[in-house]
Amino acid sequence: MNLDSVPAREPAVVSKQIGGEAVLVHPVQGMIRVLNPVGARVWELADGKRSIGALATLIAAEYDAPLELVEADILGFCEDLERRGLLKPTPLQ
């Protein structure tokens, strides 16, 4: 993945926002994961239409954080979720 990658939530994953965090359940893999509020926001925004760079720009603005740091954090976060089968990259439209 890179900043131009467009991540999408794995359709098999069932998720629910709870108390600002998110609970993700992948029933096929038997995996359950809790995302903190920033992760939950990224998960919400990962709709297969926005690039990781665009996601980072939104998050940096919402949290008033330096864009370069946010880009690196979100890229790493998305790569981690991809390794776990929770996110998948989609081709650029």
Partner: protein, 279 residues
């Protein structure tokens, strides 16, 4: 016909094999009811599906899969190593054909699974947990196999144990109650009376450690731990939204924490069981 009653949920069990019915009557004797109330589910069992004559004896693995036949999660095909059938929740009925060579094990697993679906349908849960009662209060201890559920049960001197493997919980009048089940791992502890229930005081996720401590869980983490502790239905994508919401409601009403414990009864002091409840 046998009427099995767990957590107030009745399954009317009809078995066509005399060779199977007597062992079942013995196995679930303490949970059999005779009042002719409307059951939550009627289960018709045919013990005769031997498969092809050339087939070897089926695997002893009793696992049964529930394959959704619709998009709502209401009708399922039941498939196991030696089981075939249908579960139709809107019609409150299930039919299954079992290979008689492994029927008792398959039927035990099937009943556990059916109660997982029924409990969730009724707004409750069948939880992979040890349930421990002191006087009129219940505590649940959750965690995967090997985490210490049976150990905690046996370390709870004077307690009545609802089960050391699967406990039913249901909401009742703004409260959550924990119920005994016939689904046990070991018989090494004092079982609660069949049908016994008590208000649920707290739920602890067991973590073996050198020192005892308690770490409260935030709502999302608590919900996730509960979802992980509800077998069968937590692997069913169609039930997951309802399951997650039910677990969230339970976690919002009953404290959920990690319990770091070692193999002695000292954890009860950390949990804070009131002195008047102590035996």
């Amino acid at each position: 016909m046998l009427i099995l009653s767990v957590a107030g949920l009745r399954i009317a069990l009809s078995v066509d094999s005399p060779a199977l019915i007597d062992p079942l009557r013995g196995r679930y004797a303490a949970f059999l009811a005779d009042a002719p109330e409307v059951p939550a589910l009627r289960l018709d069992v045919t013990a005769g599906a031997r498969g092809e004559a050339r087939d070897p004896a089926p695997s002893p693995d009793p696992a049964i899969r529930f394959l959704a036949l619709d998009a709502k999660g209401e009708r399922y095909a039941i498939e196991g190593t030696a089981a075939r059938g249908i579960m139709d929740l809107p019609r409150d009925e299930a039919t299954v054909s079992l290979d008689p060579r492994v029927a008792p094990a398959q039927l035990e697993y099937l009943l556990r699974a059916l109660y997982a679906y029924l409990a969730l349908r009724e707004g409750g849960l069948l939880v992979h947990a040890a349930g421990v009662c002191y006087d009129s209060r219940a505590w649940l201890f959750i965690g995967p196999s090997g985490s210490g559920k049976t150990t905690v049960s046996s370390l709870s001197e004077g307690a009545r144990v609802l089960s050391d493997d699967l406990v039913a919980v249901r909401p009742l009048a703004g409260d959550w109650r924990a119920y005994s089940t016939p689904f046990w791992n070991l018989e090494s502890v004092t079982p609660a009376r069949p049908g016994e229930a008590a208000p649920l005081t707290a739920i602890y996720r067991l973590v073996q450690a050198r020192e005892v401590s308690v770490e409260p869980l935030a709502l999302a983490a608590a919900t996730a731990e509960l979802v992980a502790s509800c077998p069968i239905v937590n692997a069913d994508p169609l039930q997951l939204p309802h399951l997650i919401e039910t677990c969230r409601r339970l976690a919002a009403s009953v404290p959920v924490a990690r319990l770091f414990f070692r193999k002695d009864p000292g954890f009860w002091a950390a949990i804070g069981r009131p002195a008047e409840d102590a035996s």
